[in-house]
């Protein structure tokens, strides 16, 4: 069995003259939680829709668990999807709708799977409510319930917490953490803090192109940079003189230290810097490793 869950090779998708996704190549390893990041119009949802087989690539290939998602039945029961902006169909209660979908996915007994999924998202009260009459937040949670139903090997979530109140969003994040223990998860989101919290790796898309992809540590330069929030000025020259430091500067109240992790391990580098600052009587408010993902995204897009 291959170590790769998703393999995308030179994929492009155009809508008329507009190129929404342009020559993107990336891989997602099995068991990984992978983030899709980018500003509005970056092509995230188009890319996501090609992974699900909803859209056909103009060129290039997409393989999910080794199969082309456009091939009929190739990923049946292996893929859980929360599509963005897909309305729940009306005419059926939440319970009947999820039982219908569970049955269609080949889950038996369908009713039990549907109940477990609805219980998981805490919406048993809505079991007999018509799916069309749910509020946006409740519909989103039912959308998540159907994506998680049956324990698919790959779960694709497009904006899973958009429009949710903070408590519901936190609940959804904890559900994603549970799911990622036994599945490959791809999350597309604008909420970078959320992705930083959940994901092992990510790809940053900008105007349809892949700006950068890698582990979160690579993207945020966690092994080559740290920041110390200070009260007052920092002794920059002395910090720069420390072994392994390749650069030091002030950004507002933050001391930004760049270092070569091959010469000195990050924990040693941080400890040495803090010891120096304490010796110099500098007041320290906090330490963060790497850049904020948000800063990295802003740099790249």
């Amino acid at each position: 069995m291959s170590d790769t869950a998703i393999e995308v090779n030179q994929v492009s998708r155009s809508f008329g003259a507009k190129v929404a996704v342009n020559q993107v190549t990336l891989q997602v390893r099995r068991g990984e939680c992978f983030g899709l990041i980018g500003p509005n119009g970056a092509g995230k949802t188009t890319f996501f829709s090609m992974l699900c087989g909803f859209l056909k690539p103009t060129s290039g290939t997409v393989r999910v668990l080794g199969a082309d998602p456009r091939v009929p039945g190739a990923l049946k029961g292996k893929l859980g999807v929360l599509p963005q902006d897909a309305a729940l169909p009306g005419g059926l209660s939440v319970g009947r709708l999820l039982t219908y979908w569970a049955s269609l996915s080949g889950l038996a007994p369908a009713d039990r799977h549907a109940r477990e999924a609805v219980e998981k998202v805490g919406l048993m009260d809505a079991w007999n409510v018509d799916a069309r009459s749910l509020s946006h937040g409740m519909a989103k949670r039912i959308g998540l319930a159907q994506a998680f139903m049956g324990g698919a090997a790959v779960v694709l979530l497009d904006e899973p917490t958009a429009g949710l109140d903070p408590r519901s969003a936190a609940h959804v994040r904890s559900l994603i953490r549970e799911v990622k223990a036994h599945a490959t998860v791809v999350v597309s989101s604008h909420n970078l803090q959320e992705l930083e919290e959940l994901c092992d790796s990510a790809a940053i898309l900008d105007r349809g192109r892949l700006a950068q992809a890698g582990t979160l540590a690579e993207l945020t330069a966690r092994s080559a940079e740290f920041r110390v929030e200070l009260l007052g000025p920092a002794p920059l020259a002395q910090v720069q003189a420390l072994e392994g430091v390749t650069g030091a500067s002030m950004a507002g109240q933050q001391l930004v230290v760049l270092f070569d992790s091959r010469r000195r391990a990050p924990e040693e580098m941080i400890t040495a810097t803090l010891e120096l600052l304490i010796r110099q009587g500098v007041k320290i408010l906090g330490v963060t490793r790497g850049k904020k993902l948000e800063e990295r995204v802003l740099e790249l897009t």
Binding site: F54, L55, K56, K76, G91, R96, Y100, W101, L104, Q146
Partner: protein, 303 residues
């Protein structure tokens, strides 16, 4: 096998949705009212025309046997006007109360438009709000199309069978001489004809619904397609009749009518098995072509 199971699950789910849909209920009621109205009006007209004819003929001193003969000839002329020149068909239909073929023909004429109104958004209505994505990730697109088609066809065919039964029951009440030995096989034949006829038009509706992502556009296109098919039959039929009247051979353009399912509807009521079989095959082929085209469109399209 998995594909067939999927079709079954989608058929069940969509049938449940259709039966809970206010639109379906309203349309079913409307069709029942329409059929009942046509039935009452036609029964009244037939009864008053027969009575007026008998009174006039009686006044002219025509004996009862003569009156019955004239009534039979009038009935045959009416059936010939409605169902064409086929002597065997007209003769077979003459044996049953005239209200049956009359009401059947009128209700069947409006059936394609009714099928369009009921099912125009079966696919497009799910593409526009993207709810089809929840199905597309679980089932083959062929299963989605055939499952939804089967659900629509079930609702429509059940309704038609019910209406046909109502027509036959009324005819039996109005004509006690219409014996069960003739009624039952005729009802079965009309059921088969209605089933085959309506299935082809539900398939056309499925194709139109798969073609567009906006339900309103699907409906408009469906109605245009129905009008186009009706025109093909009408124009082709008119050219053929005109050529016959002139004693000429049918020109090639007269064959246009065979591109429309409507052209085969009379064959479905024909007493000869060969003619009926040709009609049946034609409708099955139309259904297959419409569904295959719908599948190709849905298979290739983005959802």
């Amino acid at each position: 096998m998995e594909g067939i199971r999927e079709i079954g699950v989608i058929w069940q789910g969509e049938l449940r949705r259709a039966l809970r849909s206010p639109r379906t209920l309203v349309l079913v009621l409307l069709y029942c009212f329409f059929a009942a109205l046509v039935l009452i009006a036609v029964s009244f007209m037939v009864s008053s025309a027969t009575s007026t004819l008998n009174t006039n003929l009686g006044g002219q001193g025509v004996p009862e046997e003569g009156q019955a003969q004239v009534a039979l000839e009038a009935k045959a002329a009416l059936l010939k006007w409605l169902f064409g020149d086929d002597v065997n068909l007209v003769e077979a239909l003459s044996r049953i109360p005239v209200v049956i073929p009359l009401v059947f023909k009128i209700t069947l004429f409006f059936l394609p438009a009714y099928a369009a109104l009921m099912g125009f958004d079966q696919i497009s209505g799910e593409i526009e709000p993207r709810s089809i994505r929840y199905l597309a990730v679980r089932a083959r697109r062929s299963s989605i199309l055939f499952g939804k088609f089967a659900a629509q066809a079930t609702v429509l065919v059940s309704l038609i069978l019910l209406v046909d039964t109502l027509i036959f029951a009324t005819a039996r009440v109005l004509n006690p001489e219409f014996e069960f030995s003739l009624l039952l096989p005729t009802l079965l034949r009309f059921w088969v004809a209605a089933f085959v006829f309506s299935t082809a038009y539900v398939a056309l509706t499925s194709l139109c619904s798969a073609l567009f992502s906006l339900p309103a556009v699907s409906l408009i296109f469906n109605l245009i397609a129905l009008f186009g098919l009706w025109m093909l039959d009408a124009v082709g039929g008119w050219i053929a009749s005109w050529a016959r009247l002139q004693g000429q051979e049918e020109p090639f353009l007269a064959n246009l009518r065979w591109l429309s399912p409507t052209a085969y509807s009379n064959a479905l009521l024909h007493p000869e098995f060969g003619v009926f079989g040709r009609g049946l095959v034609a409708y099955v082929l139309f259904s297959a072509v419409f569904l295959a085209a719908g599948y190709l469109v849905l298979r290739r399209r983005d959802v």
